[in-house]
């Protein structure tokens, strides 16, 4: 466990930390310090909501999300490796299969609300007791009575002829209740796979890995990783996680079942080797969780995968739902997104605690060297002049700065005329890839896309991408569908408090020929509006990490992006409306013309062809010069 106490202050993992990430580290710290008194399990139980496991529906999404994040990171890394080594790129493919585990009845002993075992029907009149997915053998069968020993307690089933047997625990009548729903979530990727020795650490240790210690655009900023999903499964069903992984160099895949012990160490239950694996290399995780599954709607797994696929056009997704329905979200791009790079903190975004921590953790020998090497965009001259002005010795050890000195330094740094931080740390989806992908998803008639240049807010680089799709197969009833993303992760909750929603609502849509706008400012009709915020640090509104905080700089960028798309939409719509009305009119006239020609021919004995020709001449004249009648009709 990489906590302060254990790893010591020389471990440089504070570098590049900032607030939100710090929160998680705080959790880890707390975890570490309370290790003796409180178990990891208990801590998790208490803080489940912090990690996104608020309710059964959201828990399902969180588990899928964590696993998909993990897989996307792994497969992308692999694809980049391929690219670097000039091998044929193996594009990410991720399979998500969710199945309903049989859900029968549970036995709840008197005076408790925790089930002690499952009760399952095994024959027409026969029932058995099951524990952790395994059928138990009865210790004694006597007439219409069956006896079992479960964890030192005696369970007795008496078959009375009623539908269900009567159940006694330690000779006291026990309750039999419907068990809450269990689902098996299984996610497979074609990533590099994980070396056998590392599997327990990656999946069986909270906060393992390096995601939280880097200042770069990453998905993982949203959760605390796949191990939280493992822990959630363990907490709700008690069934260990099953990991199967195969690396290129090995012939067989390895399957490990594991859980997380109270001291945050992985426990491996079993290890097997198998020839069966879907890909040449990759990782599969299977978790049995207590959760809820919805087939459609904003907060469904389908929607999550669909939305994930839109902003990850270089990856394919296959979703198999509990009802066996299979959805394939095909890759639409042959280009890998740019690999985000790590950056050092920019002085304009520093906060006091952060600076203090950086000073404590740095390897630099002098404060000047610290400013130049540990922060971004501070030149040697700039450092010299700042320190001189503050009357701080530039050779002073960073650790030795007094509180007042740190405060002074921070103020000076905030005001210093510095270049903006580098923005190549960001990995946008890209205009063309996003256009293709949203077109493939919505089958719209028109799509406007923009990927804005990176900009900086409080020393933190970020960029906004937006798209507006219109018409085609987009449903025209109700409000526009809004697709919100932060660092390529779909945001499904708390739409109303999100900066993206504010940006959409603050737009004057009518100005852009959008015919009807709901009272809350969202366009009505066949529109899909997508906003993506990519940043090394996304300011979320809360621990739930489902809405982007409404910083004016961010909203401004979002609105600029939307306005750009809306302008394109407007010119399309106005041309479209004109064309359509014209085409409708002309089409109607053309449709009736032969009939009129026939009737007139009968009345006058003039040839039909002659009449048609004359009518076409009139039509040409009328549709080029708008006649008075025509104008009236358009109104």
């Amino acid at each position: 466990m990489k906590t302060k106490e254990k790893s010591g202050k020389n471990k440089n993992f504070w570098v590049g930390e900032n607030l939100v990430i710090k929160k998680y580290v705080d959790i880890a710290e707390e975890l570490g310090s309370q290790m003796k008194a409180v178990s990891v399990a208990e801590f998790f139980k208490k803080n489940k909501h912090l990690l996104g496991f608020d309710n059964p529906l959201k828990s399902m999404l969180m588990v899928v999300k964590e696993a998909v994040d993990n897989s996307l990171d792994a497969t992308e890394e692999y694809a980049h490796e391929c690219e670097k080594k000039k091998r044929e790129i193996e594009f990410p493919e991720i399979k998500i299969q969710i199945s309903k585990e049989e859900h029968g009845l549970v036995i709840i002993p008197p005076g408790s609300d925790v089930p002690i075992a499952d009760l399952i029907k095994t024959g027409k009149r026969n029932w058995d007791v099951m524990l952790l997915g395994k059928k138990l053998r009865a210790s004694k069968v006597e007439g219409n009575t069956k006896l079992y020993n479960v964890e030192g307690r005696q369970i007795k089933l008496i078959f009375t002829g009623a539908k269900k047997p009567q159940v006694y625990v330690d000779n006291e009548r026990a309750k039999v209740a419907e068990r809450t729903l269990k689902y098996k979530v299984s996610i497979t990727d074609n990533g590099p796979g994980i070396v056998e020795e590392n599997i327990p650490k990656v999946f069986g240790k909270l906060l393992y890995g390096s995601k939280f210690h880097r200042l770069r655009q990453s998905r993982g900023q949203q959760g605390i990783g796949i191990s939280s999903a493992v822990l959630y499964a363990q907490q709700t069903t008690g069934i260990p996680a099953k990991i199967t992984s195969k690396i290129r160099s090995k012939k067989k895949a390895v399957t490990i079942t594991l859980s997380i012990a109270d001291n945050n160490e992985p426990i491996v239950h079993s290890k097997e080797y198998t020839d069966e694996f879907d890909y040449e290399h990759g990782t599969k995780i299977e978790l049995v969780i207590e959760a809820d599954y919805r087939e459609s709607g904003e907060k469904s797994v389908f929607e999550f995968i669909r939305r994930t696929s839109i902003v990850n056009p270089h990856a394919s997704f296959i979703l198999i739902e509990p009802n066996k329905k299979k959805h394939v979200f095909k890759r639409t791009s042959n280009k890998l997104p740019r690999e985000p790079t790590e950056i050092k903190p920019h002085p304009h975004g520093l906060e006091f605690g952060q600076l203090k921590d950086l000073l404590l953790a740095t390897k630099a020998k002098t404060i000047k060297s610290f400013l130049v090497h540990d922060l971004s965009r501070v030149s040697s001259n700039m450092a010299e002049s700042i320190l001189k002005k503050l009357d701080i010795d530039s050779n002073k050890k960073p650790n030795d700065l007094t509180r007042q000195e740190i405060e002074k330094l921070l103020r000076a740094l905030h005001k210093a005329p510095l270049q903006r931080p580098p923005t190549d740390c960001l990995s946008p989806i890209g205009k063309d890839a996003l256009r293709k992908s949203i077109l493939a998803d919505t089958k719209a008639e028109f799509v406007a896309v923009i990927s804005r240049k990176p900009t900086v807010y409080k020393g933190i680089p970020f960029l906004v991408e937006a798209a507006i799709a219109y018409g085609g197969e987009i449903k025209s009833e109700g409000m526009a569908q809004r697709l919100r993303y932060a660092n390529k992760i779909p945001l499904l909750y708390d739409a109303s408090g999100c900066a993206t929603t504010k940006a959409i609502q603050e737009m004057n849509w009518k100005q852009y020929k959008v015919q009807s706008v709901a009272q809350n400012g969202v366009p009505m009709g066949p529109y899909v509006i997508l906003i993506h915020l990519a940043s090394v640090w996304v300011p979320y509104t809360s621990e739930g990490k489902s809405a982007i905080a409404s910083y004016p700089d961010i909203i401004k960028e979002m609105k600029l992006a939307l306005q750009d798309c809306a302008r394109k939409l407007k010119s399309y719509l106005s041309a479209n409306i004109r064309e359509r009305i014209k085409a409708q009119r002309v089409g109607l006239f053309e449709a009736y013309m032969p009939e009129l020609a026939t009737a007139l021919s009968k009345l006058t004995n003039v040839k039909e062809e002659e009449i048609k020709k004359s009518l076409l001449n009139v039509l040409d004249k009328i549709s080029s010069v708008k006649s008075k009648e025509g104008e009236k009709n358009e109104k």
């Binding site: 449709a591 009736y592 009939e595 009737a599 009968k602 009345l603 006058t604 009518l615 009139v618």
Partner: protein, 361 residues
């Protein structure tokens, strides 16, 4: 009556005019007299409901007009065809003849019969030719009996020798030739049952008259027939209806014309028609009060509407009837006379009323 040739020529002229406009690169249009209440009025001089002069232009190259424009032209072309082969179609058959789908679209030229019916009426207005002259008929309805001999399509028909059914009145009575008329007046009644009663009692023989009936509102064919008997042979027309706002309206249409057919009031209405139906005085006289059918809301409403008609407004005798009916809060049917005897209506009611000139003019 205009000859077939005249009508044919009219239709051809209409077509040629439109073609001329098209050839000149103009948006062709039809001038259609407006057939709504705003363009209909009662002329106290002629005592007819007449159509005003307001017209509206109906263009082909106009999204809102094109459908009706083509419908009207379709009827015109169809009418020309009918005239050329000298055959007739009913309104229903006209609807089917026009029921085509425009190629390559889902647009039908007509969806409902009301559309083709309207197109026919519009064409009447545009050409000044009646529907019958355009060889388009309504369903036939009604019967006639009396001492009259006619010629219809070459057949000689004696209205007094047609058994219990009488002569079935065709929808188009324009072509009927009266060969011998031996009657003093015509009785028109709104109910076939009453006609059968009078026919069985041979009233037409005893009173030397013609009896004609339809079911409810008189058809155009019957109205034209009545009008012609009145015009050409000077026979007074007596209208026999219930003591009922609806019965009075039937009388009103026969005498003054209707809003829907205001454009042909001059051909159909019979300003000299007289009301021989039940009056408030008859009810008292023949003690029919007990046979009263209580008014419903709609009856009262209808009564107050009729009361306000321009042609009844100044008429004291009618206003008296309306007032008495309103007090009675009910209506009485002619059939109630049966309570006085099976043939009371033929032997007593009619002869007495006619002898005493006990009608409302």
């Amino acid at each position: 009556m205009k000859s077939r040739k005249d009508i044919d020529k009219k239709l051809e002229e209409l077509g040629k005019l439109l073609y001329k406009e098209i050839k000149e690169g103009k948006n062709p249009y039809l001038d259609v007299p407006i057939r709504s209440l705003s363009n209909v009025h009662f002329n106290p001089k002629t005592k007819l409901i007449e159509l005003g002069d307001a017209t509206s232009k109906r263009y082909f190259f106009n999204v809102a007009h094109i459908r009706k424009f083509v419908q009207t032209l379709e009827v015109a072309a169809l009418a020309k065809e009918l005239l050329n082969v000298d055959k007739h179609l009913s309104l229903r058959q006209v609807f089917y003849a026009m029921r085509k789908t425009l190629p390559g679209t889902k647009i039908d030229i007509v969806d409902e019969q009301t559309e083709s019916n309207q197109a026919v009426e519009d064409l009447e207005l545009i050409t000044g030719a009646s529907r019958e002259e355009l060889h388009i008929n309504a369903n036939k309805n009604g019967a006639a009996a009396g001492k009259i001999i006619i010629k219809d399509k070459g057949d000689i028909i004696d209205w007094s020798k047609l058994g219990s059914g009488g002569w079935a009145i065709p929808s188009n009575t324009e072509g009927i030739e009266f060969q011998k008329v031996d009657a003093k007046f015509v009785i028109y009644m709104e109910k076939a049952a009453m006609w059968e009663r009078l026919h069985e009692d041979r009233v037409w023989e005893k009173l030397k008259c013609v009896i004609i009936a339809s079911q409810g509102q008189a058809t155009r064919g019957i109205r034209r027939l009545l009008r012609r008997l009145n015009d050409e042979h000077g026979l007074p027309v007596y209208v026999l209806t219930d003591f009922d706002p609806y019965g009075w309206y039937i009388y009103s249409v026969l005498k003054f014309g209707s809003i829907a057919l205001a454009h042909i009031s001059r051909k159909l209405a019979i300003p000299e028609a007289k009301f021989l139906g039940l009056t408030a005085e008859d009810i008292k006289k023949y003690k029919l009060e007990k046979q009263k059918i209580k008014f419903k809301e709609v009856d009262l409403k209808r009564l107050s509407q009729i009361k306000e008609y321009d042609w009844f407004k100044e008429d004291k005798r009618w206003q008296r009837q309306f007032k008495l009916m309103k007090e009675m809060k009910g209506k009485v049917e002619l059939d109630a006379l049966i309570t006085r005897g099976i043939s009371f209506v033929s032997e007593k009611y009619l002869p007495e009323k006619i002898k005493n000139k006990d009608w409302i003019d």
